[in-house]
């Protein structure tokens, strides 16, 4: 399967289920941007800006947070210890099928 379905809840609460490719070396931040969500991705995916901060709302078993991601979330706001992740650190893989993810408020 080269396509998974991911449900995105935007900052206004609107929910959409969208297709994401697993064979494009894409991460969640890039996936948000490709559907023109207002996610800046300022640092380009180095876990250095937290503009792709999101909440994982489903029970998926995601890869553990690396040190860079934990460090950056330390400097971010509206962090939920249970759900917060940086989209750029989550690769789109077949395991993500059915994921529900909500965009965190913009820090600005």
């Amino acid at each position: 399967m080269d396509i998974v379905n991911i449900t995105v809840i935007d900052r206004e609460g609107e929910e959409k289920t969208l297709e994401a490719p697993t064979d494009m070396n894409m991460n969640l931040m890039e996936f948000f941007k490709s559907y023109e969500y207002p996610v800046e991705g300022t640092c380009g995916g180095m876990a250095l800006c937290s503009t792709c901060h999101c909440y994982v709302e489903s029970e998926h078993d995601l890869p553990e947070m690396g040190e860079d991601e934990e460090d950056m979330l330390d400097q971010a706001f509206f962090v939920d210890d249970e759900k917060s992740r940086l989209g750029c650190q989550i690769a789109i893989t077949p395991e993500l099928d059915g994921l529900i993810v909500k965009l965190a408020p913009s820090a600005e």
């Binding site: 300022t42 640092c43 380009g44 180095m46 250095l48 800006c49 040190e67 934990e70 460090d71 330390d74 400097q75 971010a76 706001f77 509206f78 962090v79 210890d81 408020p105 820090a107 600005e108």
Partner: protein, 351 residues
């Protein structure tokens, strides 16, 4: 360079006016390389950057990260690329105004631009090249609704003069090196220091973490972890902060100062007020010469936008190279410009 002295707030300042051919805003890779290409056309450059050192994001955010798409370098560390660029442009003797933010641009009577920084340094040039990358790096401000009311009245995002905290009560928020280092430093200066951090563990250098824990155990500081500052109280000046603890609920902590230390984030800043056409935080340019809608002002590198734009250092180098050709014609409308290869002519620097 003209130096004038003037007194302001009782202190004597040297007012300096810097004149150059191309004034480059932003000393990142794109701005730096532009000095080289301008130098080949015998144009002098001066760079302004809000950060205290050259290199932009490469130095500030990821000096130790490798870059793989610089032609001729299979990989190079960001910090090393900046060093090489500095070496490459050295013959052209660029000037630098570092640690100052470009604030205001106005036209002079002779048709040039006068640019004044936030610290009052004046620059005059016929051409301005904005190579501002993501904008200026500014401290991240916590989303507390009334925080702006207390800025400079108890809330400081940057510690400029630690002496203002002498014998005062201070609350610091954050979990990184600067929060830890300032907690340690102010423990000896302030009458009371409280460090509030969202998690129970700290990132940051191990000795700093150990020192903070030690200070907390010997009651020299208050350490409140798994908590966040969520509110500020006071009438004009700060009296107390509201701290929300994960399990114990809200605590009111009386304090004279609140110092949130959550790192830096880029903002477009004053560039947005210069009358340039801007879409999505980027300056629109004509790809013929990377000129903006204001004749004489160009925008190159990550800060510009045009159809097909890619934010790559590689592309910024190209943009700067073409831009200086146009700048030359603007500065010397009657001079003939002949294009020369460095391999044929070498690099003739400035004295």
């Amino acid at each position: 360079m003209i130096a004038k002295s003037l007194t302001f707030a009782g202190k004597l300042y040297q007012r300096i006016m810097i004149e150059t051919d191309i004034l480059i805003i932003g000393a990142g890779p794109c701005g730096l390389f532009t000095v080289f290409e301008a130098g080949l056309l015998k144009l002098r450059c001066h760079l302004i950057d809000a950060l205290p050192q050259a290199g932009g994001q490469l130095t500030e955010i990821y000096p130790k990260k490798p870059i793989y798409d610089i032609p001729g370098y299979p990989d190079i560390l960001a910090g090393d690329l900046v060093e090489r660029l500095m070496e490459q442009i050295e013959p052209f003797k660029p000037g630098f105004t570092l640690g100052e933010r470009a604030e205001v641009i106005e036209k002079t009577e002779d048709g040039r631009f006068r640019l004044v920084t936030n610290r009052g340094t004046e620059h005059v040039a016929p051409v301005i090249a904005i190579a501002g990358g993501l904008g200026c790096f500014e401290p991240r401000k916590p989303p507390i609704s009334n925080i702006s009311e207390f800025e400079d009245n108890g809330v400081e995002y940057i510690i400029k003069d630690p002496e203002i905290y002498r014998d005062k009560r201070v609350v610091i928020a954050g979990g990184g090196d600067s929060a830890l280092d300032w907690t340690i430093f102010l423990a000896d200066v302030a009458s009371e220091v409280t460090l509030v951090h969202r998690r129970s563990s700290f990132r940051g250098a191990l000795d700093s973490v150990e020192k903070v824990v030690e200070l907390s155990e010997s009651n020299k500081i208050n350490l409140i972890t798994e908590a966040q500052v969520v509110g500020l109280n006071g009438n004009g000046t700060l009296d107390a902060v509201q701290i929300k603890h994960k399990r114990e609920g809200e605590i009111t902590k009386e304090t004279d100062h609140f110092i949130p230390l959550f790192g830096l984030a880029p903002k477009l800043g004053p560039i947005a007020d210069w009358g340039l056409n801007i879409t999505k935080n980027a300056i629109e340019v004509d790809t013929f010469d990377y000129s903006t809608n204001v004749p004489g002002i160009y925008a190159i590198g990550d800060i510009n936008t045009y159809p097909g734009k890619l934010k790559l250092i590689l592309c910024g180098f190209h943009e700067g190279t073409l831009m200086v050709q146009s700048a030359f014609k603007r500065i010397y409308p009657d001079k003939k410009l002949s294009f020369k290869y460095t391999t044929v002519n070498g690099v003739q620097g400035f004295e």
